[in-house]
Symmetry: C2
Subunit: 146 residues, 2 copies
């Protein structure tokens, strides 16, 4: 299992904010209730640096969050990477991972590189707006999914 609640909750939160922000701000309380997610847990997730950069916040009464850019300017991949740190299927492909001394010989490495590419291509080919619109997503083959 690759995407933890962090990634899943952030995606749902951003979609919820995108859907409910009019001219104003969406409070975590409201999003948490609608999405049935612990508000306290969400609080911790939105302060992940790369996540908070995607949002504009306002404290105090009637405060909350709104997207810093339009929903069609964020890909699902971007959002998930912000929350999860990395979407690499294996540790050895992660940024900041100490170079594996076996990488030159590793017979399995090309499998992981291809998998990484397939995953990122799929997730980066889809924006938040696409998800809201329930736009069919290219599934990487000849078929459309959703």
């Amino acid at each position: 299992m690759m995407i933890s609640t962090r990634g899943r909750y952030v995606l749902r939160l951003l979609l919820d904010i995108a859907e409910h922000q009019g001219e104003g701000y969406v409070s975590l309380k409201d999003s948490a209730e609608r999405q049935e997610i612990s508000k306290k847990y969400l609080e911790q997730i939105v302060i992940i640096p790369d996540v908070s950069k995607m949002l504009v916040s306002k404290g105090g009464k009637n405060g909350g969050y709104r997207l810093a850019k339009d929903a069609d300017e964020y890909t699902v991949g971007e959002v998930l990477r912000a929350a999860e740190g990395s979407l690499s299927p294996v540790a050895c492909l992660e940024i900041n991972h100490s170079p594996c001394p076996r990488s030159a010989d590793c017979i399995a490495l090309p499998v992981w590189k291809g998998l990484d590419e397939v995953i990122n291509k799929y997730l980066d080919g889809m924006t938040l707006q696409d998800v809201l619109d329930k736009k069919p997503g290219y599934d990487g083959g000849d078929n459309y999914v959703i």
Copy 2:
């Protein structure tokens, strides 16, 4: 990170066995040394039921393992699922997961279903023999990887 050492080690082990089994058996000791993996840890991994079904073992001196079927009869996806249990990117798509009461409304679910499909299509489109042959793998787009 989706594929743990269990999956990565099993894939390397099976590839190592496929490469070194002639008419005989390949001992874990030899594979472990070649692959620089703890032999004791490998012992525990090969007794995972779905993994052990892919192997034929022989105890005693000159014993070891060989593949139960030919290397071109096992897909990488099969091998990884045997070791990891599931390759689902999110918990809610796993077999035996209690049905999520929100699934009918969940705006994010189609994203995960598409991702699951892309991942499994890639990994099931590649056999152990393909990896040994370093055969280019279809990366789900217009490009070949490896």
